[in-house]
Symmetry: C2
């Protein structure tokens, strides 16, 4: 992995999260499925926002959260994603740059607004996302910065990008660019409903361009249409050079060739908001991976970052992850 | 206080807070005085935002926070303040309405943007505010809703409004309207530098239209240009029908005619961010006051609300204050 300036470059939706608390009944009333992400249109995002309680705004986006996490560990990360030239777009750009991530995708003026996700957190800490993508899928071919992608050890792609054909093309282009430059391609499956929508294409990508696969239990079983996690893990091991399967409170399982490494979760005093748990696990893992650490250490860094993020509201670290890692001797 | 529909109507700057952490050195480097609010222009707010770390956005504004607190206790509150027809303006409007506060000041389109305050929180939890007022002072006479003011037991005014001549006029008009309708007028001095800027006018108001005065230790000593708190308290007692003096960790002192009530602070496990402490103390006090509670109970409700707000980031309650009050038997 010589001649690289970046550890990881992520490509994903550039989103500002609007996070509020709600009851389980509120989710039912508004047709949201707990724990999942659904796309909503401009009209729905307005009416749902009107109905929900007071909220706070924090920059988000799955791959963007992961890049912020890598930077918080002290890694060198870049992000490619589309915002509008509006207030939320400026907030997104500020927050990702302020943590040290390179972000130079030009904002688009005069069209759709910056993406936002209304994130409803129930009393159990589970988050349910209602995302209005706005300008985010309008990332065109020319905006996938080939130099940035080629300069990274790993290019990290979020499955959510598949939900819009325009973004899918950028996604495929980035994977091709990375492979061409001899880099590793990582993919996160994002959400089991997202997997249901794009199963064949995901399988095709995983068996082709993807080197490193991140998925949680429901995503990997949805991908292989099997009921058992063990069966899904067996299939993932066949298809992926490196598969990292997260299981919430059960920790994670890392599969690489003949190797299988089980990682315990990091204990958390109180789960406040699970938004970003998977994103930050990936941040810790990839920070370790690009630094050449063992799979066990990579997994422990992932668990550490996930534990930090679920102990407060929002999907960006409040405490420098480098400090937490140092305290654990990682 | 018959024929009232509202407990309190607040008039103040309609602000979205942009809250991030920084070192003490960062404050010095950027010419900010720790613990205070300073007004910054459009250019400075951009350059300071660029320099500061990642942030989160939460609706704020001193009187607006107080009204949100009263609603969180179960009181009936209204707010009058000016936002622009932009994204931050919609966020402000959403958050204050979502907590149950009546807010119907029309937003202004096409001019200055919604006000924002860059709030820098140092490791000790102290907040330092850099406020760009934008459209906020453009509240004109016609927009101080006379019916709303006349329908409230108390009209609550923030001293910060004095920093712009336009807003000052609205302030004076509201005080006049309230007095005319036989209501109580409350004033908070907001900040000791704000007091320095407007001492004579504040004294004039306090000796004239104001019935209830809120101030902290540095504000009240600045008002009377005395070094000792006791001396300032003695003078406040002469000038005000009811003076409520807050002293951070030393609790508060309530003065009314011959009476002096000392209230202990509510213990807090860890001070995370002091933003809104004074605003929420006023919320608890005024909720109790308009419900006809004793001065001691009013003060304890104030301490309870202040303790909730300093235990997390942001100046709006995360936990329903009615629930906390019930748990304490208040």
């Amino acid at each position: 992995m010589a001649d690289t300036t970046y550890d990881v470059v992520g490509i994903g939706n550039a989103i500002v999260d609007i996070i509020g608390r709600c009851s389980d009944a509120f989710l039912t009333e508004h047709g949201a499925t707990k724990g999942h992400m659904r796309l909503v249109d401009a009209e729905t995002v307005v009416s749902l926002y009107k109905a929900m309680g007071p909220a706070i705004e924090i920059s988000g986006g799955s791959a963007a959260n992961t890049m912020a996490g890598i930077a918080s560990f002290g890694g060198k990360a870049g992000f490619i994603g589309k915002v509008a030239d509006d207030e939320l777009g400026r907030i997104f750009g500020h927050d990702i740059r302020a943590v040290g991530v390179t972000f130079r995708t030009p904002p688009t003026a005069g069209g759709n607004p910056t993406a936002r996700s209304l994130i409803l957190v129930t009393p159990d800490g589970e988050r349910t996302m209602n995302t209005f993508l706005g300008v985010s899928p309008e990332l065109d071919h020319g905006e996938v910065d080939a130099n940035l992608v080629a300069a990274a050890k790993v290019v990290y792609l979020e499955g959510y990008l598949f939900d819009r054909p325009e973004a899918k093309a950028a996604f495929r282009q980035a994977a091709k660019l990375a492979k061409g430059a001899g880099r590793k391609v990582a993919l996160t499956l994002s959400d089991s409903f997202c997997v249901e929508r794009h199963r064949a294409e995901f399988l095709d990508l995983i068996r082709g361009d993807v080197d490193i696969l991140f998925a949680n239990e429901s995503e990997i079983t949805a991908l292989y249409r099997v009921a058992s996690f063990d069966e899904a893990a067996r299939l993932a091991r066949v298809d992926s050079e490196l598969a990292i399967l997260t299981r919430s409170a059960k920790g994670s399982l890392i599969l690489s060739g003949e190797k299988a490494v089980s990682v315990a979760p990091e204990p958390v005093a109180r789960v406040v908001d699970t938004t970003g748990a998977g994103d930050l696990y990936a941040a810790g893992f990839l920070f370790g991976y690009t630094a050449g650490k063992s799979l066990d250490i990579c997994g422990r860094l992932g668990s550490l970052a996930a534990a930090e993020i679920i102990s407060h509201v929002g999907a960006r670290p409040e405490t420098a992850l480098a400090k937490l890692a140092a305290a654990k001797g990682l």
